[in-house]
Symmetry: C2
Amino acid sequence: MVRKPANYSKKAILTLLYEHRNEFLSGQKISELIGCSRTAVWKHIQSLLEEGFLIESVQKKGYRLMQSPDGLNEPAVAAGLKTKRLGRTIRFYESIESTQKEALRLADEGAEDGTVVLTNEQTNGRGRLGHTWQSQRGTNIAMSMILRPSLPIEKTPQLTLLTAVAATDVIEKVTGLTCGIKWPNDILYNGKKLVGILTELQAEATYVKAVVIGIGINVNGDLSDLPESVRQVAGSLELITGKRYALAPFIQEFFECFEALYTTYLHEGFQSIRPLWEQRALNLGNVIKVRKPGGHILEGVARGINNEGVLLLQKSDGTLAQVYSADIEWDK
Amino acid sequence: MVRKPANYSKKAILTLLYEHRNEFLSGQKISELIGCSRTAVWKHIQSLLEEGFLIESVQKKGYRLMQSPDGLNEPAVAAGLKTKRLGRTIRFYESIESTQKEALRLADEGAEDGTVVLTNEQTNGRGRLGHTWQSQRGTNIAMSMILRPSLPIEKTPQLTLLTAVAATDVIEKVTGLTCGIKWPNDILYNGKKLVGILTELQAEATYVKAVVIGIGINVNGDLSDLPESVRQVAGSLELITGKRYALAPFIQEFFECFEALYTTYLHEGFQSIRPLWEQRALNLGNVIKVRKPGGHILEGVARGINNEGVLLLQKSDGTLAQVYSADIEWDK
């Protein structure tokens, strides 16, 4: 007999309940499907109730999941997920320092393509260029995806742009809001940042070992836990629409949308993503300022991106500058 | 009073003894320089004797280091090192799974430019493209350097070529042997591999966070502990010259040579390294086979490298192919 991990049955029961959200499942059926006793099923249901799951229990009909506690759990994301690879392996943590740091560690240890690190709380989330990413527990999406594409290293930043397209698409699908992208990958609505994306690379000489893409999406909450400096520039979907959104289906939509774009990209290259990105881009045709990592500032008109994903900035003398890595600014 | 770590005084005494290898240091002088009691000095000396250091002790003259135990220790590498940054911070481990893995972890945590991870024994050393690197305890050099150059990611593989130049130079300086480089970075003597180099990259989109360069050099030993398959392709400096070489001065020479080349490279670009690499390259002008990561094989005449560090292969139809990442083979 293969010994299963201690929590295997409970997780399996919860996944079953998620997969059959609109119907009753008898204790007998669950025990057959999972391969544990009916007493064990009963005990696991009690334990789930204690964790805050609302499970209806009706004589002769069985159990039905009515409501989940706030925040995420792994079965909620796994149940019914329609992707081929992305999110098929989930490493879930109730709280973690940084999903990105953990995903980089797992990638270095050989975690497979499509593995996702997911959490309800980051205690020290990472942002771009050494910034931190702050968010409220259980109200937002914080995750890091491990990808192992066969790409030259200089092309991997294109995945950042692709991720921004996927994020705006999912937000539109779930909430109806049409957001814009600030190069390369901030997602804004009315000037407030809703999504942060961080792409990190592990490579051996010219060979890409892993790309780890971290995504933070402010879904629910009023950001009142966050410092004033963050609240001035950030928003949440709930603050805009007044509605709360279930996080697990949101993530599933994201995985499916991202995987479709990613598959197209791997087959057809960045030229298939470029028009999608430019359609969603903010301030094309306007004057922007580009602050390079060294502090040097360049001013010009944003003219779009080229087929490599590089930002094209038309300077006052008419020439085009190519911008690879920078923060950009504009007047509101 | 600032509390010093438990082993601080012992390490400081050993560093002093290394710095004054050819003279006697009195217990009084040591206790003043280190800031501990003469009794403490005596106790630390006893402890060093137990570890295998041979320290001469003469009445009214003091202590003199005569001989170190086999293998490396941190003070031996630190004492008298003339570099500006490289090796000024050393993380030394008697035994470790992989210096490369540890250096990548430290780099991700913010270790400063020039930090070096050093060990006497790797239990699971890494080689290129997922290979392992096997070596004997205490007889060879196994280390990983953390560098934070301001470079576009696609240029970082050039550091692999630079490292190969540094390794051949140091071997020639220490042993008088003139080795050749097999593209991109194996160091061979009479067809036997003496050095392995592994360059790994941590980047955020287009921004290089750290380059970690692992170097294994077979210095002493007859490789008899290693599997037959490794012994067929590998050699050691001792096997060739019949002499044993002290590891710490060897590493110091390497740090100094590498830092000089690296400084030139950062100022003048790869064109300053290219001729040095080509002078040491094996089989330029000869037919070689190139096995790409996917398994695809290309045959042609090796024509050198370009100013980007890319191998140029002239195919039978006369055209030049650019080779970025591959294993190469030739007939002996």
